[in-house]
């Protein structure tokens, strides 16, 4: 929503010369905004009415609420950590040494989006050794696969915005080894990409239902669906709460990241793109 209004605002920024056009553009802007607002807000309002405000007072004390949310948060954290440890060095390496493979990797990373999660989880459950299948931590490992396309794209966009090769060589020539270069030079300049990836991973894990339910894990979305069967209004209240919490964190990350990125001349942080750095001439 925020992105939508912003885009519309920017598209109409240069004032057209003719007075008739000047009037017509804002009208259309408001009409489109209104349609979008109705589309997105109406279900929310309906859900709010259905749940009733009283439900919000008691939802936090419902049985299983805390543990389900806590499980989802831990999954998000593990997924994030494993994804970053795997994908940051991989993406950087591809950019530096195997730029020819970038297209292939893009193709590979699209697979988890194309293959339905049901197929993925059932396949994994078939072939996994029992020890891992019985473990709670198999699910976040699966989430790593789901998160890979988003992480790759966000990191790739971040790396495209900087001259990784020259920065790495400059760092090397000043005496920094590979790890130091990655930690002190590349990562700080990849912050917007990393934050974009983080936003996407957290949103993905907190909302994933299919795989979690098939793996019999009571994550937050699974709990909401189960709870729905004996207290529907309470369950709806919980999902609205989850929505608000997620939304709040996404906004927080976006605002903080954009502020930091601006300080060093970077672009605005949005969910899918990292605006290229300004290039300064002479």
């Amino acid at each position: 929503m925020a992105a939508l209004t912003k885009d519309l605002g920017m598209a109409t920024a240069p004032p057209p010369p003719a007075s008739s056009r000047r009037r017509s553009v804002p009208v259309w802007r408001w009409v489109i905004l209104l349609i979008a607002a109705v589309y997105f807000l109406l279900p929310l309002i309906a859900a709010l009415r259905f749940a009733g405000f009283k439900a919000f007072g008691t939802v936090f004390t419902q049985q299983g609420f805390g543990s389900a949310l806590w499980l989802s948060v831990r999954f998000a954290a593990v997924t994030w950590l494993v994804t970053m440890v795997l994908m940051i060095p991989t993406t950087v390496y591809i950019h530096l040494r195997l730029p020819g493979l970038r297209r292939l990797l893009e193709g590979i990373t699209i697979l988890p989006i194309v293959i339905p999660p049901v197929v993925l989880i059932i396949g994994v459950l078939q072939v996994m050794p029992l020890a891992l299948r019985a473990s709670v931590w198999m699910l976040p490992l699966e989430y790593v696969i789901l998160a890979m396309p988003f992480a790759y794209r966000a990191l790739d966009a971040g790396l495209r915005a900087i001259d990784v090769k020259t920065l790495t060589e400059a760092s090397n020539s000043l005496g920094a080894g590979w790890l130091t270069t990655l930690w002190r030079v590349i990562l700080p300049n990849l912050r917007t990409g990393v934050l974009s990836a983080t936003i996407l991973i957290v949103a993905l894990v907190l909302g994933e239902f299919t795989m979690a339910s098939l793996d019999l894990q009571q994550t937050f979305p699974v709990w909401i669906v189960l709870f729905d069967q004996f207290n529907a209004p309470m369950s709806v209240a919980a999902s609205i709460f989850a929505l608000l919490v997620t939304w709040f964190f996404l906004m927080l990350i976006t605002v903080v990241a954009t502020r930091q990125s601006r300080r060093t001349g970077g672009g605005e942080v949005t969910l899918f793109t990292v605006a290229p750095r300004e290039t300064i001439g002479n």
Binding site: T166, E169, A170, S171, N172, S173, L174, V185, T264
Partner: protein, 378 residues
């Protein structure tokens, strides 16, 4: 538009004291490093980027590698830096082969063509980065980085981030950063080519002044002959992975070893000529003059003569007609069409050129000095 470009070069002289103190430390540490490139060969697919290239650089010397793009000059520099590896041949630093040493251990300061400052660090932290990698303590590090920034005239910009600096300022910070580690060798990879003409000129002088003051052995890669000739102690002209000639700028200009060097450095006229019987003389414009040794022995040849070596004077019934005049300040370049449709350029003092309006009949004649010959261009 930043205002510090001009101030930077003005303050250079004022920073001499600080620079001298610094050079004492640097000189004491190394006392100049020699670099030898021996038989370097590097093949990329079907192209030989470097073909048995050898070059000796004396301690404290600035050698420029000059050549058209794709001639292998950047490959040579990157092999010295440790970013590329030669298929055969070796790089010796102070007589020691560094082929197996990674870039991070070579102690070489490098300034890149593209802006290479770390965007997440301000100017001071950029300069201090190499010192930090060498485990120099915080206070000492900042003090030395500040000295270096002062030396390139950018002390007031210490707290600014790269995106707040102009291109010229960024390259000066990059230079300070490269020099901060007291490198054994300074490598400059077309550091000025992204800058506009005026800034380029100032930075050129500043780099040369600093390099001489610190006595740092320097390899400088450029495609700009003016840059190479004005800055370097010696210039190596490269073509297709080979060094055609290495000489001091004056020698390169006045005694080019090959036709390629002659035509790549400065402006050169090609005049149809005829070899004498022993190929030791050549007849050009009706005059027979000695031929410079090393030219072709037979076949159709051209004589290569610089515009300032030819003389021209207005003469009814002369051998050419003025077609154009280009005012260059003290001299004017006069274009003359000779009989046989050969165009030559002749530099004459601007006062003399006044009487040579286009259409004037003139007589062009050559010097009596030996001329360079080359197989005739078809």
């Amino acid at each position: 538009m930043p205002t510090n470009e001009i101030a930077g070069s003005e303050t250079t002289a004022a920073k001499a004291a600080a620079g001298a103190a610094w050079s004492g430390a640097a000189g004491g540490a190394h006392g100049g490093t020699s670099v030898s490139l021996r038989g370097l060969t590097r093949v990329f697919g079907a192209t030989r980027a470097l073909d048995e290239m050898s070059l000796e650089i004396a301690p404290g010397e600035l050698v420029a590698l000059l050549g058209p793009s794709g001639c292998g000059k950047t490959t040579a520099l990157r092999i010295v830096a440790g970013f590329e590896f030669a298929d055969s041949g070796e790089v010796l630093i102070d007589g020691r082969d560094v082929s197996g040493v990674p870039a991070s251990r070579r102690d070489m300061g490098m300034v890149f063509q593209s802006y290479s400052l770390f965007p997440n660090m301000n100017a001071l932290d950029n300069v201090a980065f190499g010192l930090r990698m060498r485990k120099v303590g915080g206070g000492d590090r900042r003090k030395r980085a500040a000295e270096l920034l002062d030396m390139v005239g950018l002390a007031p910009q210490a707290g600014q981030y790269p995106h707040q600096l102009s291109g010229g300022q960024q390259q000066r910070v990059a230079l300070a950063r490269a020099l901060a580690i007291e490198p054994r060798v300074l490598l400059l990879d077309e550091p000025l080519s992204a800058l506009d003409a005026k800034v380029r000129l100032q930075l050129r002088e500043q780099i040369r002044t600093l390099q001489q003051r610190l006595g740092t052995t320097t390899l400088f890669v450029t495609h700009d002959q003016e840059e190479a000739l004005s800055m370097a102690d010696r210039v190596g002209v490269m073509r297709a992975g080979k060094l055609e000639q290495v000489a001091d700028p004056a020698g390169l200009y006045s005694r080019p070893a090959t036709a390629f060097v002659a035509e790549f450095v400065g402006t050169m006229n090609r005049l149809p000529a005829e070899l004498g019987s022993a190929a030791s003389t050549v007849t050009v414009l009706g005059a027979t003059v000695p031929a410079q040794p090393g030219g072709p022995d037979s076949g159709p040849v051209d004589a290569l003569i610089r515009p300032e070596d030819l003389t021209v004077k207005a003469a009814e019934g002369g051998n050419g007609i003025v077609t154009n005049r280009t005012f260059l300040g003290a001299v004017t370049r006069v274009a003359v069409r000779l009989s046989g449709d050969t165009e030559v350029s002749v530099d004459v003092s601007s006062a003399v050129a006044l009487e040579m309006a286009p259409g004037t009949a003139v007589q062009v004649s050559l010097p009596a000095t030996p001329v360079l010959t080359a197989p005739r261009a078809s």
